[in-house]
Structures are given as structure tokens and as C-alpha cells.
Symmetry: C2
Amino acid sequence: MKYIKIPPATIYRLSRYSRKLSLLSREGLEVVSSEKLAAECGVNSAQLRKDLAYFGEFGVRGVGYYTGHLLQHIKNILGLEKEWRLGLFGVGNLGQALLHYPNFINQGYRFVAAFDVDSGKIGQTLGSGLEISDMKDITEVVSREPFEIGVITTPAGGAQQVVELAIEAGVKGILNFAPVILRVPGDVVVEYVDFTLRLDSLSYYLSNR
Amino acid sequence: MKYIKIPPATIYRLSRYSRKLSLLSREGLEVVSSEKLAAECGVNSAQLRKDLAYFGEFGVRGVGYYTGHLLQHIKNILGLEKEWRLGLFGVGNLGQALLHYPNFINQGYRFVAAFDVDSGKIGQTLGSGLEISDMKDITEVVSREPFEIGVITTPAGGAQQVVELAIEAGVKGILNFAPVILRVPGDVVVEYVDFTLRLDSLSYYLSNR
DNA sequence: TGGTGTGAACAACTTCACAGCG
DNA sequence: CGCTGTGAAGTTGTTCACACCA
């Protein structure tokens, strides 16, 4: 593993490879070529080999990759051997949908706390047994029930402020669904999920053909 | 408007500019510099000017951009002057959350149809007044209530098949929330929204510091 | 004068093509 | 012999730096 900067896109692709490998492995496939796995993931095979090469040599020349073995390696690289705990900020429709999102649970992500500012919601217990806390009590909640990643599903206007509270309480990773760019310190990682961005893009390509 | 290929990333950024401009414009700001708007959107100012330059000259040298004027232009470029109609495929938790997602409605996107395969759901009327149709009746529904964009919130396993039905019925744009790569004909546009990809990425960066 | 518009330099990422090894 | 691993070439996207103009 040489010390080179790894493209963010490589990390996203690793996640895809891992998902596809899970599937192939469960289907009983023992060996897969870069050609085949790449095709399934919609990328070039050289790309796939290069992605893996950032982290080591996992294949066998003339043969391919052992699915189970490679899957284990990728999960390790991505840090998926441990369970990650999530805190939800903003218990609206979207937030509640995420609480029940099966792909999160299957992949080792688990919500352990939920926050809102709406006094009508605070104190309520959700189907999952999770109680909605006041955003102001975050420090106390985190010390009782720690989590590493904050999931932001508040309206755009409130997101920055909420994130600052979360970071103050020690959260180092943010998954942001609010359509705004967040300002955070250098040691905090943010990933964005922005639906309207994608829809606008569709709008553009459908309009210009 | 010269005839050059436009980077996909430029389109995403236009969407962000438009959102920020809406805000600034509503706040009463009449003129904005590339420096300021770029900072608000988290990009380099040369980048912003170059993005706009693909489509024309919208600024005034020595002054900046007139917010309302520029906003109008960007909306025009993105095709946001018209209302886009959406069809929902898969009425689970996530799908229902999207039906009520305020940012869609505000931006001129409207759901006009909803589909599922679950016979328990088919025929039910949702809060919005939308009736859930059988996926098999898609052609008939589309002819009665046409829409341009299909939003996929089915489980991963069913997505490809659903998309094929939608395309057969004439849908040309797909917003896919299912964590799989879709195979579609060249004249169909797909945009992906994949939560787990982003979470895995967070997992990676939080594990490797 | 001050901020836009843009060619040219730079940086990042992807694909090719083939050496090297099981 | 076939498929991986990888330097080199190609492509795409970003930033610089300054000419140009209201």
C-alpha cells in the first residue's frame, strides 16, 4: 500500500463493488474476474483493478479474485467490520423513513438517537423504541448513548445550526440531506445527499436533447 | 453559446447557484459578485464564471451579476421554467416521504402517479389524493396522466424490472434511489441517489485518520 | 477602477496496452 | 495461457492570471 492520495470516486466504487460481491458471493460464485465484476458495476475493468491496487494485491493472475476473500478485504478498507451508530436530526417524513430504511440496518448502521426542535414531537417514542430528544439536550444524550455519525434531515434553514451543535457534542461525521453547503472544521467529514440537485440535472438533460 | 461539451459537475453547480440566488434575491440583494456567490456555494470564483460562460455572458464587468436576472437565466438553462411531473414507483416509507418532500413541490416538481406491486396497497388513496396503481397498469395510467420522470424507490432487486416497464410506457428520465446500476437505452437519462454509498464513504474517512 | 470572461497552465482521473506472474 | 497489476498516454475538469470592458 503505497502512500498516494486516493480519489474520492474510488471510495464510492469500493462501496458498489462490495455490494455486488455480497450478492455474487451469496449466489455461490467463488471466483470473479475484474472484467465481470466491473461490468456488473458499470465501470471499466482497468478502473476496478486500479481501485483495488491502491490498497494491495488481492487477485490471482490468470484466475481472478476470490469473491469472499475480496469482499472481506473491501469491507475492511471501508471500515465496515464495525457497527456504526447514527443520530437523526429532524424527525420529519424523510427522517422517519430513514429510521426504517432496510439497507442501513443490513449494512451495519444503526440509529441510536433522534432529535427535533418541535416541542410537539419531543418526548414521543417512535415505533423502533427510540425516544425523540430535544436538540438542546444533545450533549447529555451523546454521553449516555454515543454515536459517530449525525444524519441531518432538517429544513435547509436550520441545518447549519444543528450541525454546529452536533459537532460541539463530538460528532465527527455528517450525512447531510438538507440542500445547503455546510461549514465545518477540518476534522469533520461531510457527505451530501441532495435530491433536488439530481432532479434539476434530469430536468436539464431532458430539456436539452 | 459555443458548442462544447458541458461537464456534468457544471450542471450540479448551476442547481446550487440557482438555489442560493433564490435566497439572496428574496433577501433583497440586487447585485452579487462571482466571488461572493461562489463562496456561498463553496466553489472557486473562476469556476463559477466558467460554468456560466458555457451558456452566455450574464454579468456586467466591474459590477457583478444582477441576482434576479441571473436566476432567471439559470432556471432557463436547467429547464425549470416548466412544471415537471413525476411518477413514484414503490410506495414504501421512503416513497411516501418523497411525496411530501417540500423542496420538490417548491421547485416545480409534482407527483401525479404512484405505483406498487403490493396488492394490499393498490387501490388505496394517499393523503395527497393520489391513488396507488398496479405497476402492470402503467401504460394506461401514463396515457391518462402523463409524466416525464420516474422516481424509483423499490427494493434493489426489483428496480431494473420496474424501470423497464416505465421506459416501455414512455418515461425518459429516472431518479433512482435503489442501490443498483440500471441498464437503460441511450435516450433515457438516469440520476442516482444512493444513501449507503455515502454512508460507506463516511465510514471510510472516519476509520482512516 | 473593479469584476467579468477566457486562454493557457495545471491537476485529477480514466483508459490503454502490455509486462509479469500463477 | 489468461488475467492481474501498472507505467504511460489520454481525457476531463479546475485554477491561474490577466486582457478587456462597463
